[in-house]
């Protein structure tokens, strides 16, 4: 059960932190179509986070609800990967990050749909459809930007360089996922290469960063993100909304 709870928490935290960053795009996207798509993806991930937290609260025996996980834990209790918490940067960086994270998450959810836990399996099965769309959206934009103008190509390269050191963390073996990290790495890398080939972009190599988000090691960006996310909830202890 601790393994199950850990898995749900990690995937829930990834989703919540990603949804928060996507919400920051609200009213700032390059076109209304992307405005709606980014919100849609953010909403899907927020929905996934809520289901995963609910499952974690049952599995870890604390009976905590979704808001206890989202609003009343500090940064070092979060088990999300660091890639999710980096600031949005430009649309190229947000696209590349979304591409990487949705490839990774889809590969995972694909396998978790056959999980021994029926609740997690159902969450994953539902998520697969959503994530397929997220990956599709990100991949299409990656190709457009990679093969668009000189400026967009240049920005995509810079985005890939920025993302590269955070890739290794995704594939590090962690207990509780019941999924073979090497198989995930192969699958995700293959998909990324395919998309980036079509975009005329390289997948840069970079040394992995020390530390691990899944162990509570985070960047300097997570605490301010959470301070904002939690500010109203914490200002009104005992309130219901």
């Amino acid at each position: 059960a601790a393994e199950l709870a850990g898995c749900c928490l990690a995937l829930g935290d990834d989703a919540l932190v990603s949804a928060q960053r996507l919400a920051e795009w609200c009213t700032r996207a390059p076109e209304l179509e992307e405005e709606m798509a980014l919100a849609n993806i953010g909403l899907d991930l927020l929905g996934q986070a809520r289901l995963l937290y609910a499952r974690a609260g049952q599995a870890d025996g604390t009976g905590r609800d979704e808001d206890a996980y989202a609003y009343f834990r500090d940064a070092d209790d979060f088990r999300s990967v660091r890639l999710a918490e980096l600031p949005n940067g430009d649309f190229a960086f947000s696209t590349v990050r979304l591409l990487v994270l949705s490839c990774w998450r889809l590969a995972h959810f694909d396998r978790l749909a056959a999980s021994a836990d029926p609740v997690l399996a159902a969450i994953a099965a539902k998520g697969v459809k959503e994530l397929t769309y997220h990956r599709q959206f990100a991949a299409e934009w990656a190709v457009r930007l990679g093969d668009g103008t000189e400026e967009s190509h240049h920005r995509m390269r810079a985005a890939l360089d920025r993302v590269a050191p955070y890739l290794d963390e995704l594939f590090a073996a962690r207990p509780g996922f019941g999924v073979d990290p090497a198989a995930i790495r192969d699958e995700v890398t293959a998909v990324l290469r395919q998309v980036l080939d079509a975009a005329g972009l390289p997948l840069p190599e970079a040394a992995a960063l020390p530390g691990h988000g899944r162990a509570g090691d985070h960047t300097e960006y997570l605490a301010p993100l959470l301070a904002e996310l939690q500010s109203v909830a914490r200002a009104h202890p005992g309130a219901t909304w």
């Binding site: 609200c26 009213t27 919100a39 109203v232």
Partner: protein, 319 residues
């Protein structure tokens, strides 16, 4: 003349004008202006609430608010499309918005200061929008009328969600109840002004009524909103900040005070609390997105060229 007669006939029989039908230039211009302003209002209206998505105090409210703001983007899209059926161009309308040459609803120039504002905007602003827009579902221009049907359905959903948030807060802590009353105090009068100036001062209304673009006068709609809202306020347990507000048995409607029309004038003319913020944000998003739009066009052009080349090659191979 014949065309004009056909148009008049369609209007008289309460039938709809469709994009390919002939229409007088004044009708077209008036509609484009109105639909564009409506679209701009949806887009600018995302800002005051959108800033609270990242701070919503529960995940459920976060999801509700996120979805609502996304709906507003969707409304903006349908409406810009409706304007395009009249020959307008979305990029041009956006340019007019960010240069301050076209307006949007004055209500979005007020600041959202606490999370209770999210609820009150749903209750008042979406409520007022519904009063304004339900009649537009019978607007004489087909694409606009159809867009309004969908918009109104979603807005009445948003209004219920806003009211439900306030209900929950009123059952909460004393601080939450104070937040709600404070938000009500701040948003009541601006919401009444959403219906526009009093009928005597509303020069465009007559033509719009004759063309059946509009169906009710500003003052009629305002009265309807007040009558609808007063019992809701009682149920909620908040006070509407108008000492003149009372039931008039004789009229069978509520009497209420006069909004500060000079304030409305000021806000419309650009000196509201947040006008420059709202436009600046929209402009920044547009400008910062330019390279993305250019890249998308460049890519589309390349793809088209590649397809053409492939077609030529295929033809050459066939020949």
């Amino acid at each position: 003349q014949e065309l004009q007669q056909g148009f008049d006939h369609t209007i008289a029989r309460d039938q709809r004008i469709e994009p390919r039908d002939w229409m007088p230039e004044g009708y077209r211009r008036t509609l484009i202006r109105q639909i564009a302003q409506h679209a701009h209002s949806e887009i600018i209206g995302m800002q005051p609430e959108g800033d609270w998505i990242t701070r919503a105090p529960s995940l459920r409210r976060k999801a509700i608010l996120f979805a609502k703001v996304q709906d507003e983007a969707g409304h903006g899209l349908y409406l810009y499309s409706a304007a395009e059926t009249l020959g307008a161009d979305r990029a041009d309308l956006t340019q007019r918005l960010i240069e301050g040459r076209q307006k949007y609803s004055s209500i979005f120039n007020y600041p959202t200061l606490t999370f209770a504002d999210v609820g009150v905007i749903g209750w008042f602003v979406d409520g007022a929008a519904i009063c304004n827009q339900v009649p537009l579902c019978r607007s004489s221009y087909g694409p606009y009328a159809r867009a309004m049907v969908r918009v109104c359905k979603e807005e009445s959903f948003h209004q219920r969600q806003g009211y439900e948030l306030l209900m929950t807060m009123m059952r909460g802590t004393a601080a939450q109840r104070e937040m709600v009353q404070d938000a009500v105090d701040r948003w009541w009068w601006p919401s009444l002004m959403m219906f526009g100036p009093p009928d005597g001062d509303s020069p465009n209304s007559a033509a719009s009524m004759a063309w059946k673009i509009k169906r009710h006068t500003n003052d009629e709609l305002r009265q309807k909103f007040v009558d609808m809202t007063v019992p809701q306020a009682e149920r909620l347990g908040v006070t509407l900040p108008d000492p003149a507000l009372r039931w008039n048995e004789e009229r069978g409607r509520h009497d209420f005070g006069t909004p500060d029309w000079t304030e409305l004038q000021r806000v419309i003319s650009g000196d509201g609390p947040c006008n420059s913020e709202r436009i600046a944000r929209r402009r920044a998003a547009h400008e910062e997105g330019a390279w993305v739009r250019e890249a998308a066009s460049a890519y589309a052009a390349k793809q088209a060229a590649r397809a053409a080349e492939a077609a030529v090659a295929a033809e050459g191979a066939a020949a």
